[in-house]
């Protein structure tokens, strides 16, 4: 695993898998969007609003997965000082925040017709909102220092603190109030629980796959531009250094 700490090594692999990830992402979206938004049957209780759920659940899945990725990479960065782990964590954070916001917004849009209100202080909405604040705090802390390395480390520590706290917050809020329906996908020995019909599960899984691939494709792009920006910065710095050495009067 340590050989991936080298940006060149890491990017060689990342660039090699990027076309595949991007291609699968496009294919999955091409399948998921029409099936989920047009051809899948409306729910017998929720009607057409069930289609919001495809976006909502996929965003919620990503916001949690990305937090896990940030926490794991922060740990790797703090323990082994892997520069790539830090880059992955920092590049993921804004995406996690956006998916978190998307989950909240789609949840509210779904709540209005279903519950008759945009917002209820139920356990899952509340802990998602808190997770959103944790994301914002992470991004703000990472950018708050003149010395970017200081921001990297402080944010990494915060991510680990958050990963200890997320379950505590979740359990507290759950205890505090529960109104939201229990989770609909339950993995069991027979595979997936049958409380949801397969006509709804298939588009949901397609959409979740598409979202996940979208995240990985975007991550590679962000890492690539981040490394290029660092290269440009270094080239500029050495250029300036060369100039001032040649013309000390300036």
């Amino acid at each position: 695993m340590h050989k991936f700490a080298n940006p060149t090594q890491f990017m060689r692999i990342a660039n090699a898998i990027y076309p595949w990830v991007a291609g699968i992402c496009v294919l999955l979206f091409a399948a998921a969007i029409p099936i989920a938004l047009m051809f899948s049957p409306p729910d017998y209780q929720q009607g057409e609003t069930v289609r919001i759920m495809y976006i909502h659940v996929s965003s919620a899945w990503l916001m949690m997965m990305i937090y896990g990725i940030i926490a794991a990479n922060s740990a790797m960065f703090l323990i082994w000082r892997h520069p790539m782990a830090n880059l992955v964590a920092r590049a993921s954070a804004p995406m996690g925040a956006v998916f978190c916001a998307l989950a909240l917004i789609t949840g509210m849009l779904w709540g209005q017709p279903m519950w008759g209100t945009f917002w209820v202080w139920d356990a899952r909405l509340t802990s998602t909102l808190i997770l959103f604040f944790l994301y914002i705090g992470y991004i703000a802390l990472a950018d708050a220092f003149e010395d970017s390395e200081r921001g990297d480390k402080a944010a990494a520590i915060l991510a680990l603190v958050g990963s200890v706290n997320v379950p505590i917050i979740h359990f507290s809020v759950e205890w505090w109030n529960t109104l939201h329906q229990p989770s609909i996908i339950k993995a069991s020995k027979e595979g997936v629980d049958s409380s949801v019909h397969s006509s709804i599960l298939l588009p949901l899984f397609l959409m979740m796959g598409a979202f996940t691939m979208f995240y990985f494709a975007l991550l590679v792009l962000r890492l690539r531009s981040e490394l290029l920006a660092a290269k440009i910065r270094n080239a500029r710095l050495s250029q300036i250094a060369g100039h001032s050495a040649a013309q000390p009067a300036e």
Partner: protein
């Protein structure tokens, strides 16, 4: 250990000589609480319903205000670097500073809270539990707060940032702190909530000092 006691007595002495700092926090606590009757109206039944929550929220905000002085002065005048160079266990150093913070902010807040609860018409059954809940909850507030304060050392807009980092982490304490008082008011046993608050304090005291020490080490680098 001698560093621990020396630091603790030094911080307490400093707090005593600059007692205006602690007093300002208490004054803020009082003002923030007193604003609520103006906001929601003076009816006794509304106020007594929200009293515990208001006291808790105001106490958290007041504690938040006091957090930036836990490490900032030592960070700016170089004391922190000296402590790090000393080869002392940073975890102990952090623990000493947190205890000093709790004694100079947490304890005054706890002492003040029944007085403010009176103005909010908290029913008589609630006082004991409120004080007990604050007693068990404020150590967590100081421990988590110190971690946040160490993370934002030297940051731009540190104060605002600190509230953004720390307040979400205070939510569990707030939930169980108010739930304990609520239980006491409705005649339910409040011991479960108080036990959970104590549990949070134990988790915080075992984990936070290490995180804070790590944050301090990288702040001084």
């Amino acid at each position: 250990m001698s560093v621990f006691t020396a630091l603790l007595s030094r911080d307490l002495k400093l707090a005593l000589r600059q007692s205006a700092d602690s007093l300002t926090v208490i004054a803020f606590f009082a003002i923030a609480t007193v604003l609520f009757p103006f906001g929601v109206g003076p009816e006794a039944e509304v106020l007594s319903r929200i009293a515990a929550g208001v006291v808790w929220v105001a106490a958290l905000l007041a504690a938040l205000l006091s957090l930036d002085r836990v490490f900032t002065v030592d960070f700016e005048d170089g004391t922190l670097d000296q402590l790090l160079l000393n080869g002392q266990s940073m975890t102990l150093v952090v623990l000493a500073k947190v205890i000093a913070h709790w004694l100079t902010t947490g304890v005054p807040l706890i002492i003040m809270s029944p007085v403010l609860a009176v103005t909010l018409q908290l029913p008589a059954e609630g006082y004991g539990t409120l004080v007990l809940a604050l007693l068990l909850g404020t150590p967590t507030v100081s421990l988590v707060g110190a971690l946040g304060a160490a993370l934002v050392l030297g940051a731009r807009r540190g104060g605002v940032l600190l509230s953004l980092l720390v307040l979400p982490l205070y939510i569990p304490v707030l939930i169980f702190g108010t739930a304990a008082v609520e239980a006491a008011l409705t005649g339910m046993p409040s011991a479960p909530m108080l036990s959970i608050l104590g549990g949070f304090a134990l988790i915080a005291v075992t984990l936070c000092p290490f995180g804070t020490a790590a944050a301090l080490r990288q702040a001084a680098e």
